[in-house]
């Protein structure tokens, strides 16, 4: 895929989401469902690659770009992560004080709740692809419980799950 197209599609996703993984529904729609540039398994791997290393969770967008267009695609992904961040500079100047508006805060919370619904809809096909037996189902449930109710770093959970996969094979 052309790097400019990758940048435009990823930018559309990052510009309309308000946290790292919230861009995933739109990215899945554009890259997996519409253009078939990635499979669900590759999208899963991209999310893993973003979480396995240090830095922001949204960095998985770079891996999506890499899958879709090699190194130029990865560079397009990086730019799509960075570009919306600079919107904060004019916002700091003009919106200072307005974040206290109850209506603006309520609208933002509406977006967060809508994003949760979208994220669930995007997660189900990924889960369907990942669950291939009782072991992987157990990993899904255990990961959900650990990350929802403890402060354990997600990177450790990812590595532990990979290790469980290895041990199950051995």
């Amino acid at each position: 895929m052309n790097a400019l197209v990758i940048y435009a599609l990823l930018l559309k996703a990052t510009c309309t989401s308000f946290s790292g993984l919230a861009s995933l529904p739109l990215i899945r729609e554009d890259f997996v469902v519409k253009r078939h540039a990635l499979t669900d398994q590759q999208l899963n791997t991209a999310v893993f690659a973003g979480r396995a290393g240090p830095g922001p969770n949204g960095i998985y967008v770079v891996s999506v770009g890499y899958f879709a267009g090699g190194l130029p695609g990865a560079a397009a992904g990086l730019l799509a992560v960075i570009t919306p961040a600079f919107l904060i500079l004019p916002m700091m100047r003009w919106l200072k004080g307005r974040t206290e508006s109850a209506r603006v805060r309520s609208a933002i919370r509406g977006v967060i709740l809508g994003t949760a619904g979208l994220l669930l809809a995007a997660s189900l096909p990924l889960a369907r692809d990942a669950v291939v037996g009782s072991l992987t189902l157990g990993i899904v449930v255990a990961t959900f419980l650990i990350l929802s109710f403890t402060k354990v770093d997600s990177a450790w959970v990812m590595f532990a799950a990979a290790l469980v996969g290895l041990m199950a094979r051995g």
Partner: protein, 181 residues
């Protein structure tokens, strides 16, 4: 307050932004310790403004946060340094991991490890859904409103295949018109 050299600011972002695991919240807490408490480059108020505005800036919150903190300390060059230092090294690591997957995916051992990790990613996605919902479930009224927004977005996407953008727009409009407090 004396402005630090750009290299020192970039170095602090590089050191902290790329050695903290666990996503944006961990990084922002670590940056607060360094920029506010240890170096005194910004005030607690600067930090709080950057933190809250980053929450409503589209994209990855922590990258916007770093741009804002960088701008406060060293102007637009600080903003660029903050955003780049936070993302470039971790992007390189993510590409290396992705490349490794592509190169080794035929190997059955790597395949087994990836299968385990892929299941964990699915569990993590469900946990993200829960963590997004949880703060909105404090009272019965708030929880009912939250579940209505959540369920409407899920059904629109899952059952009726509505694309994400109109759903996000509708959620913002509904939230604006129906205040939750």
């Amino acid at each position: 307050m004396e402005k630090p050299a750009l290299a020192r600011v970039a170095n602090a972002f590089l050191r902290i932004g790329n050695t903290t695991f666990g996503g944006g919240d961990t990084t922002q807490a670590a940056l607060q310790r360094e920029f506010v408490d240890r170096q005194g480059w910004i005030t607690q108020e600067d930090y709080a403004i950057a933190f809250s505005l980053a929450r409503i800036t589209p994209g990855t919150n922590v990258v916007a946060f770093c741009a804002a903190i960088g701008a406060r300390v060293a102007g637009w060059r600080g903003a660029v340094a903050g955003a780049l230092a936070e993302t470039v090294p971790s992007a390189a690591i993510a590409v290396a991991i992705t490349w490794g997957y592509e190169a080794w995916r035929g190997n059955p051992w790597v395949h087994a490890a990836i299968a385990g990790a892929a299941a964990a990613v699915a569990g993590m996605m469900f946990a993200s859904v829960w963590l997004l919902l949880r703060p909105h479930l404090r009272s019965m009224r708030q929880a009912l409103r939250a579940m209505l927004f959540f369920a409407a977005a899920f059904i629109a996407a899952w059952e009726f295949r509505v694309t994400p953008l109109p759903i996000i727009g509708a959620a913002a409009l509904a939230g604006f018109l129906w205040k939750d407090e």
